[in-house]
Structure formats: C-alpha cells, structure tokens
C-alpha cells in the first residue's frame, strides 16, 4: 500500500484524494485554506470556446490537457459522474457538446457538465423561460440579466420579483441565508403557496442559485412539483451555492472513504536525505505548536495557482512555487504580468510549473526533479484557464493522471 500525501483541498486535491482512496491506498490531504470551489460557478468547464472533444486534440504539446492525455480526461469525467450520481447531485452534459447557461449578468456560459438545476437553464433548450429575482437579495438582478440576454438575441418571456415569505422585514439577504431556508420542507411549502399564483403560464423559471445546500436535488424536485414547472438556477457572486455544494459533496465522500484531513497549517516541502535529492520524503507542517514532519511515499501538489497560494508573485519580479520552491515558467519582471484591461487575457494566467506526461515537475533541462512528486491543477503552467474556459477540466484530468502514475 502506497502512502500518498496530497497538498491542497480545492477541486483538484479533493478529487485526487478520492481517486487514491478509491484504489484502497492511504491518503492524507493537507491544506492551509479551502480552495476555490465556492468562488466558482460549480460547473465543469472543459473547453468554452468550441466543442471540447474536437478542440483538445489541436492543443500545444505543453498544454496540461495534452500532457494528461484524453484517456485521463475521459476516465476522470467518468469517475466524477459516478461521484455526483452517488451523491444524488447529477451533472448532465457531455464533452462532445457544451451547454449554454445564462450567467447572473445575462452573458452566456458555455460549459460541459453542470448540476441538473443549472443545466435546465440551457439557453438553446427551446422552452421559453422567465427570470425571477428574490426581493432583497443583493446578488441577483433579473432585469439586467434579461436585458443582456435579449441583446444577444435570446428571448426571455418575462421578468419577475418574488417575495420572501418571512415576517421579518429585513432588506438584506445573502444566497447562503436563503439556501438554508430552502433546505426546510415547511419553508418550501410556504414559498410555493405564495409564489404559485404569480407563476401562471410559466413553463420554465430561472432563479438565483439558492435552492438548498444539504440536499439540493431533492429541494429542486420538490419545489418543481409544488410549483408545477421546470426550475433552473443561475450562480451568483461568491459564496456561490453550486460551488459550495460540490465542495460539500467531495468532502463528505472523502471523509466517508477514510481520507485523513489536516487543515490549517502552511506546509513546506521536505526532500529525502538518503536519495541524493531525487526523492521527496513528505512535508513539514508549520503548526502553531511548531514544525511537524509528515512523511509519505508519494506527494501530489494541488496547491493551485496565484489565487490559492500555489504560486507567489514577488515584488522583485520573481514567481515562486510555495511548497518545494520548484522552478516556475514565467516572465521575469512585474511589468510583463498584466495588461491594461481586466477583460483581456493576462500573461500571468499562463505561468506555472512545466511537467512531463507523468505530471512530474521538470528542471530547466527538461528532466524530472523528483521521482515521487507529482503536480496537478492550477499550479500547472501552459494554459489560460479563464479565457479557454478550461479550469475544472484541467483540474480533473491532471488529478486523474497524477494519481494514475503515482500509484503505478
């Protein structure tokens, strides 16, 4: 049995830990923070700009998808679908055709897999739909979304504001407040009673994503039945409910399959003294009580890119990898990292580690640095995930490949 240590508890780290546990190996997941799932839309973007299955084969050889390989991507998706099915939070969609979902701004989000409550909002589905806001929710503006969709030539049947049936006259709600209410069946009953008269003639209704956190599929089905229509959800500003739900599902499964979590400490990489520097022996946890060594046979780095702390961009113009100080591929000098518009592609987005097709980080000469260290997810360079619409696909495929290689 191989002892695996995974650093990072985002989509990549959690998914990798499930894969390792699935194969009956011991796995410890250490993470300083929580990863980026609650900042995300909670869907699986594979390739946003074209049909994913066709676009991927034409990528540069150094692109993470090419390094992980199509087989790993397919296998990863299969396992992901299995996990979400079993958690009763299914993700319809496929790699051969993107769904086109409305965003809260009324732009169009192409994505491969989405939770059912989001997928039912596919804009090319043909069923007319209405958008509804919820009074006093600060993060959803149905008029704005509808206007932008209409500008793009998409018909929105009507726009509504639905009340919150609470005695309390608060003017301020977050999506998470509402999600907890929707988890309760007597609340849903009350909502349905108040909303139903306002929904006459509506077949499909889009709401901000607030329909429950604990058992969202049940909430969706129950409310659809009570209202007699198809519902779909639109993710809002962070904390985004669909992202949170996915995190809950992955963590729940990780705990149930025996993944050992160590959360909180910052970690520093540790090299095996007996291997001439060719192997790592684990990490050192910087705990409150002092440094603690944690050893493992294999380490998988899933610390993410700049947002999650895997890469550290220094004032002096250097970019560093935060655990083992591995070489990063980047342009030296702050002046090169960004452009003048936040909506353009940013040079820094493509910076990261260079790896071989075994997901091992490489040195300047292209040789693997350590025999038993693997890298997956946002830490990898060579892809502009934001502009490509490829973030979650890369996370899953590279996590799969790293585990596959690490466990031999």
């Amino acid at each position: 049995m191989t002892e695996v240590l995974i650093v990072g508890a985002g989509l990549t780290g959690l998914f990798a830990s499930l894969l390792v546990a699935e194969r009956g190996n011991a796995v410890t997941l250490v993470a300083q923070g929580r990863g980026g799932l609650e900042l995300s839309h909670g869907c699986i973007d594979i390739w946003g700009r074209a049909t994913p299955s066709r676009a991927l084969s034409r990528l540069r050889k150094s692109h993470p998808y090419r390094l992980a390989g199509t087989a790993a991507l397919h296998a990863a998706l299969e396992f992901f679908e299995e996990i979400t099915q079993q958690a009763e939070y299914p993700f319809p969609g496929s790699i051969s055709r993107n769904l086109h979902l409305p965003t809260a701004l009324g732009a169009i989000h192409p994505t491969a897999l989405a939770p059912q409550s989001l997928a039912q909002g596919d804009l090319f589905d043909g069923t007319p739909f209405t958008l509804a806001g919820i009074d006093n929710l600060r993060d959803f503006y149905p008029q704005l979304a509808a206007s932008n969709l209409r500008r793009a030539g998409i018909a929105v049947q009507s726009v509504l504001d639905l009340p919150i049936p609470l005695d309390d006259t608060r003017h301020d709600f977050y999506t998470s407040d509402l999600a907890h209410l929707f988890d309760k069946s007597n609340w849903r009953e009350e909502v349905a009673r108040v909303w139903k008269p306002q929904l006459i003639g509506i077949k499909r209704l889009g709401l901000p994503a607030v329909l429950g956190l604990r058992d969202p599929q049940h909430v969706l089905e129950d409310l659809q039945e009570r209202l007699g229509l198809t519902l779909f959800e639109i993710p809002t500003l962070p904390p985004s409910l669909p992202g949170l739900r996915l995190e809950v599902i992955l963590r729940r499964r990780a705990l149930n399959t025996g993944v050992h979590f160590i959360e909180g400490p910052r970690v520093v990489g540790r090299i095996d003294g007996r291997s001439d520097g060719r192997r790592v022996s684990g990490v050192v946890l910087q705990t409150v009580g002092g440094p603690r060594v944690h050893t493992a046979d294999v380490v998988i780095l899933a610390t993410g890119g700049i947002l999650n702390g895997g890469l550290v961009f220094q004032q002096d113009g250097r970019v560093q990898e935060s655990v083992f100080d591995l070489p990063v591929n980047y342009d030296q000098g702050r002046g090169y990292w960004t452009t003048t518009s936040p909506l353009d592609s940013q040079p820094y987005s493509g910076y990261g580690l260079l790896v071989n097709d075994l997901m091992q980080p490489l040195d300047a000469k292209g040789a693997p640095i350590f025999e038993n260290l693997y890298v997956a997810g946002g830490l990898l360079g060579g892809a502009d995930r934001t502009m490509e619409g490829s973030r979650q696909g890369i996370d899953l495929a590279t996590a799969y490949r790293a585990v596959e290689v690490a466990l031999g």
Partner: protein
C-alpha cells in the same frame, strides 16, 4: 451665434475653477463653469489629500508656507465637513541632514506656521507604528481633506447661488473680436453637439491643460508637466500626517485619508496632462521610503496607485529671471497685461489647500478689469454640507449600527458600507448613470476588494433605475478603472485580488462575452 451669454465663463472644474465660480457667485456675478470630464477628473481628484499646515514650504517657498498656514485655518471654518483633523508630524530620521530641523523650526516660527517640538517618546505614544529610530519630532496643523467632498460641496453651492456647472463640456475654440475674447465654442461630449457661450470675461483654470487652452487664443503659456505618483495602502497604520523633516524631496510624506494611508509622491516630467502611467520603480521607491517612516508598511497590502499631473510655469528668460527655480506657487497670468488680449486670465499651479485664496486673487483682478466694485466674501462664508457628500466610514457604521435588524438597509459595497438607498439616490441625482461618478461620490468600490463584489450589484441597481440605458454599459469601464489602479501594484496579495476579480467577472459572470453595448 451664442446660445447663451453670461458675465463670467470659467473653464475647468477642479478646485481652482470651482473656487473662482463660487467666489464670483458671492460677488453677484452671473457665472457658467464648463468642465470636460466629471468632477475631480483632473488633478484635484488625483491629489495627495493633504491640507497643508505650511510646514512643507517654510524653507523652499515661504510665501506658499504663509498662504497655506492662513488658508488651513480658513478652510477649517468654511468646509469643516471635508476635513479630518489628523494633525501632522515632521520626523527627522538618522539619515537626514542633522542641522535641518533647527533651520526648519526657526523658519516656521518666523513665518507664523505653528509648530511645536515633542519628544520622540511622546511621538511614539501618539503613533506607535513610527520608526523608533527617529531623532526629532515636531507637531504641526496638517489635516486631510477629501477633495471629492469639496468639489461636490462647491458645485452645490454654485448652483444654489444661481451659477451653472456643466460637466462633460469641453472648450474647443476661443472666439476673438479684435483683441478681446467674446465667446467660447463648446462641445457637449455626451451628444457631440457644438454650442457657443458668450461672456464678458473668461477664466482659464484648466490646471495642467492651461497651456493648451491658452493656445486656443493663440497665446503661449509655457508649462512643464510634472507627474506625481501615489500609493494607497489598504490600512491606516498611522492616523497623523507623517512628513519627513528634510529638504523637500520625493516620497517623504504619508497622509491618512479615509480608510487608507497614502504614500507620495514622485516627480517625473511628462508630455501630456493625461500621461499618468506609473512605472514599477516609482511604486518600489514610494514603498521603500514609506517603510523608513513606518516600518510595518512592509507587511501591509498596497491597494491602489494613481498619479496626478502638476503644471509648472516655465517662463522664457527675462520674464521671471533666469536663476529662479520653476515656482510651485500659484501662477495668475493677466493676458491683457502680458499679451494685450482683453477678457482672459489664466490661473494654475498652487495647491488645493489655497484654492480659495487663488480664487480670491483671480476674482479681485477680474473685478478690477470689469469695473465691478464687489469684494470677496468666501473667507467668512461657510459652505453648506450636502447630506449626500458627507463621507466618513465610522459615521456610516454608526448609522448602520443604530438601525434595528428589522430595517437594516441593504449594504451593496461592504468595504465602504455603501447602501442600496445611497446608490439609488446618487444615481437619480447624477447627470449620468456612470458608476465611476457614483464611486467618486460614495466611495463605492474604493475599499480592499476594489469593486470586485459591488460593481456587479451597482450595475444591477443602475439598470433597474434606467432599464432603457445600455444594459451594464457602465460596468466594463468601471472595472477597467479599478483595474488600472491595481496594475502598478500587481504582485502578492494585490495580484491575488485582481485574479479574484477576474474569476468573478470572467468565469462566473462571463462579462467578456457580452455583446458590445449599443450606443
């Protein structure tokens, strides 16, 4: 043909132009002011925020020092709501010239700039974050002044007194009759229409643009432009203005303004008033200098950087004498005297602190030339505070905290505690649905997240108020403006913040895939 005629046309809506227009209103003149941008788009909205005590100029420019000392007291009387009485300290560090503090202190006393020496122990009790290795400390009457509040207040007063303030109107031509200016051709930038305003007298108060505007009347006003960059830190480790007690140079002052501490400034010659790009070395320099005064700044997050452009008069030989340095005190050019052109005065340079005095001096000259006997009343006329413009974060918090949870208002910008009601009111009052104007008025999006969360909400609210306006048309420029302020600081936590903004606006909201706004 003029569509409108007035007695006085003021060109430029910074502190100087608005000050002149307000002074003229109080003297009973009919006034129109035109400004090509929004309030505060020139230097007045990009300045350092210091209400000068005069201390910074006692050696280099004694006249300015005296003017500042007097005007500091006047402004505390007439616009107290725009000022935070932070007080100021002048610190000598071990690397500064050892004889300077004594010379400096003597000059303060001679010029009537109030200053008092305190022990370093007392200074550290006042401001524990100061570098403990300072050798001497003096206390002065510095303050910080919110220029947006000031400009809004002045505009409201001018309108109340019957004057007009036209934003987004640019003077493109000055029309002469013989050697007298009689009218200005003005482009309304929202509609692209051209109109003509006739006036008996014109004041060119266009700051760094003063040379360009003067050239519309074929007059040469040689101006050198000096760009100064500033960095706002996300926290306020000091609550007093911190100056370095040494011969004035770059990077020697920290001003606490609102929720941030602003480090400044550099001085780089540029070619255009709009050349405000900040170089990485400027930021590195300002942070390094700031750390000398307040070491813990090394661990704080820089939030935003911006630059303002100073117009410096660079007269030809003979006009001011060869040996004098380029003066930084106010320049008032009477073009009748100087160029034989009637009806135009240019005023530029100086400080925001002495805007009232500059306006008084200009209007005295205008009245003399127009044969009007009215005298200046601005020094003894307090400006009414507009309820909307009053901004202090603790006051906003206090207001929110006394409301019961039942009618707790919706907070749209959590960093600066801007409520939905405030945004709705600002949008109704504003002449456009421009989110950046709402920002300048309410500080929307000025806090640690730099609009990452509230920009979307504000766009949604704006669209509810004006469903016919191009949907979210104001969102992209607003985000781009915030982004520009972070780019020079794009490393470490600031770059992470920028990445978070991109995750939200590109991955979650897909803003980049919206169809182009239709005009």
């Amino acid at each position: 043909m003029p569509v409108l005629s007035t007695q006085l046309l003021v060109i430029g809506g910074g502190s100087t132009g608005l000050g002149v227009a307000w002074d003229a209103c109080l003297r009973g003149l009919k006034v129109v002011l035109v400004e090509q941008g929004d309030l505060g788009q020139g230097t007045s909205g990009r300045y350092h925020g210091l209400l000068h005590s005069g201390g910074r100029y006692v050696i280099s420019d004694p006249t300015s020092a005296c003017d500042c000392a007097v005007e500091n007291r006047v402004l505390r009387q007439i616009v107290p709501h725009t000022i935070e009485d932070t007080g100021g300290l002048f610190l000598a560090t071990p690397t500064d010239p050892i004889d300077f503090p004594d010379r400096w202190f003597a000059a303060c006393q001679e010029l009537g700039v109030s200053a008092e020496e305190i022990t370093t122990a007392e200074a550290l009790r006042l401001e524990p974050a100061l570098n403990p290795r300072i050798s001497r400390v003096f206390r002065v009457q510095d303050g910080s002044l919110d220029s947006f509040d000031l400009l809004h207040t002045l505009t409201a007063e001018i309108k109340r007194a019957g004057g007009q303030v036209w934003l987004r109107h640019r003077v493109e031509k000055l029309i002469l009759n013989g050697n007298t200016i009689v009218a200005a051709e003005i482009r309304a930038l929202d509609t692209d229409e051209l109109l003509t305003i006739g006036a008996d007298f014109f004041v060119n108060a266009t700051g760094p643009w003063a040379g360009q505007v003067a050239s519309l009347a074929d007059i040469k006003v040689p101006i050198a432009l000096g760009k100064g960059s500033m960095v706002a830190m996300a926290t306020r480790p000091i609550h007093t203005v911190i100056n370095r007690c040494r011969p004035s140079s770059d990077g020697d002052i920290i001003v606490p303004v609102g929720t941030v501490a602003v480090l400044g400034t550099t001085d780089v010659e540029v070619q255009q008033p709009t050349d405000t790009t900040i170089e990485p070395w400027e930021v590195d320099f300002l942070l390094a200098q700031g750390e000398i005064l307040v070491p813990q700044l090394a661990y704080q997050r820089p939030l935003r950087a911006w630059a303002g452009v100073r117009p410096l008069y660079r007269p030809t030989t003979g006009e001011l004498g060869e040996t004098r340095e380029l003066p930084r005190s106010q320049i008032i050019l009477d073009h009748a005297d100087r160029d034989g052109l009637q009806g135009l005065i240019s005023v530029f340079s100086g400080k925001l602190t002495i805007f009232r005095l500059m306006a008084e001096q200009v209007m005295d000259l205008v009245c003399k030339q127009m044969n009007i006997a009215a005298v200046c009343h601005t020094a003894e006329t307090p400006l009414t505070m507009t309820s909307r413009s009053f901004y202090k974060l603790p006051d906003r918090l206090a207001k929110l905290e006394v409301t019961t949870s039942h009618d707790l208002p919706q907070v749209v910008c959590e960093c600066e505690l801007v409520t939905r009601l405030a945004i709705e009111e600002a949008l109704r009052f504003a002449s456009t649905l421009d989110l950046d104007e709402v920002r300048r008025e309410l500080r929307l999006g000025m806090g640690p997240c730099q609009a990452g969360f509230c920009a979307f909400r504000a766009a949604g609210i704006a669209h509810e108020l004006a469903p016919t306006a191009p949907a979210s048309g104001g969102l992209t420029p607003f985000l781009e403006e915030r982004w520009r302020g972070m780019v020079p600081l794009g490393w470490g936590h600031t770059l992470r913040q920028m990445e978070l903004t991109r995750r939200i606006y590109l991955e979650l909201l897909q803003t980049h895939s919206l169809p182009e706004p239709t005009k």
